[in-house]
Amino acid sequence: MNAEPNLPIPISYTAGSYFIFSIDAVTYLRREHHICGVLSGTLPQIPQQNVFLGLPLELMAEEARLLVEKGVACIVDEVNVQTDGMKALMEADRQRYLQELQAQGTQVMQMQASRKEQQREEALKKIEEKKAAQAAKKKASQPPPPPETPATDSTTKDDEAVVGLFAGDRKQQQQQGPDQSSSRRPSTAIASHAMGITPATSHSLLPLEPSAQHKLPLPAVPSSYPLFAHLHSEGYFLSPGLRFGCQYLAYPGDPLRFHSHFLVVSTGWHEELDLMEIIAGGRLGTGVKKGFLIGGADETTSDLESREADDVRTFSIEWAGM
């Protein structure tokens, strides 16, 4: 998993969200840049399952902005990339792509056919072995002949049925069903049908490097961005704070290894601060063994030019226990 992706990593901007579709990029960003994001991909057929999510990785706007500012990533207008990419596709390319798909389908079919053949041979061998063993037994003790091994027969049939289901070729299977013991012809006929392949990605169709015209400017970020960038620069891993009713959760290391240290809430420099919020945050933070961290960009130097990027004041609040 040490594959380093090509920089800058394209971040797909779709419907107001930022996504990363490459697992190499995801692991690289987590390892090198402390950006975890949130896995958001589920199975198309089971969208309710939301426990084990996979690619794509969804990034907060702050995370996307930070990566772009670091020069690690760039924002790509995914919709335009897809539509323009498809339009720009040459007819010859299209044909080649379709042929490739068909070739893949045929290959899969052949693999399945050969596996089926192998399974059948194994099953037959088993039956013959059993027969031989029974014959030997008969010779030895002469017991009443048992029924003709229905169990093994049915299992082989079941196996075949499963394979047949995947092959989508029930007729062939039914045909083979009764005469499986007699005819052992290799099923070359099946291989002639190519399986339909639905490609999961559009990688080979679209250019890997997004062209300049599809790149978007810096993502718009909420006013809490200075605090986000400040904490990130101090080595904290930040994740959305919905679970604890705050803006961010700050982890001192990878969230898989550490509990979070802070519930982070950003506030404007002159924004009115309700003391009740401090108490509530401090109480909740202490209740879940975390600190409550409040902070924001220092705006005492009103000159935007002279202001340092990292001019952020933070305060951590804990219940005093008295």
């Binding site: 909420p222 006013s223 809490s224 904490l231 101090e234 904290y236 700050a250 001192p252 509990h259 240290h261 802070f262 950003s266 506030t267 404007g268 420099w269 002159h270 924004e271 009115e272 601060l273 309700d274 003391l275 009740m276 401090i278 108490i279 401090g282 933070g285 202490t286 063994k289 975390k290 600190g291 961290l293 409040i294 902070g295 924001g296 220092d298 705006e299 005492t300 009103s302 935007l304 004041r313 933070t314 305060f315 951590s316 609040i317 804990e318 219940w319 005093a320 226990g321 008295m322």
Partner: protein, 229 residues
């Protein structure tokens, strides 16, 4: 029992007497001064703090463009932030010595544990308390100004000097360890390894009846890891 004579009003509470009699506050009618005294009273008699003092600090107040904007938009444009800080308000601070350590940084605790030092071995320090009232207008700028007005070292070098003379006689080993601790603590206060400046935020509620409860929260500058995690 029926009242024959008009009953006398009940005796004013000790706290009311204290507030009424306080000569220290410049304007006795100042509600903030009164709640400061209330918190001081609470510290003195409920939490048994000693050598309590009140301090007055002047905080710059930015001109408010939008009055009472509790739900002001978070995106503060540069135009509103260039407020001229001409006026100041008085903010009170209380300082005192608690009967035991109110806060010990987790790393500091580990350091002490490794050297077999107990909490009671360490000299108590003067801690600043920021009195606040529910409903009072606070902002990050104001909180930062309070922290900026605090003395830097919090009198730590003095503590180390006192420790050197104090415990010399009892056990040489422990004294050496304590000296080592104080020395390291001075270093840690520079690197902010054991947290930066800290203050105790005390808040009273005067709106919901004001039952006399004072809540205390430790506020520290910077990201200081929580004590239990």
């Amino acid at each position: 029992m029926t009242t024959k004579t008009p009953t006398k009003p009940p005796q004013p509470s000790a706290l009311t007497n204290l507030i009424a009699a306080s000569p220290s506050t410049s304007a006795p009618s100042d509600p903030l001064a009164a709640s400061t005294l209330q918190i001081l009273h609470n510290l003195q008699h409920q939490h048994l703090w000693t050598s309590l003092q009140t301090h007055e600090i002047e905080l710059p107040v930015p001109k408010k463009d939008t009055p009472s904007s509790s739900a002001s938009p978070p995106a503060s444009s540069p135009a509103t932030t260039t407020t001229t800080t001409t006026t100041t308000t008085t903010q009170y601070l209380i300082s005192g010595i608690p009967p035991h350590h109110v806060y010990i940084h987790p790393d500091e605790q580990l350091y002490m544990l490794q050297r077999g030092l107990r909490e009671t071995d360490i000299e108590l320090e003067r801690l600043f308390v920021l009195p606040a009232v529910q409903g009072q207008s606070w902002s990050l700028a104001r909180l930062a100004a309070v922290f900026d007005s605090l003395p830097g070292g919090e009198g730590r070098p003095a503590a180390s000097a006192a420790a050197g003379t104090d415990i010399e006689g009892s056990e040489g080993d422990k004294a050496a360890k304590l000296a080592e601790y104080y020395e390291y603590r001075e270093k840690a206060s520079l690197t902010k390894e054991w947290g930066g400046k800290r203050i105790l935020l005390a808040m009273v509620d005067r709106m919901m009846g004001g039952d006399g409860t004072v809540v205390y929260y430790i506020v520290q500058e910077g990201a200081v890891k929580p004590r239990q995690n």
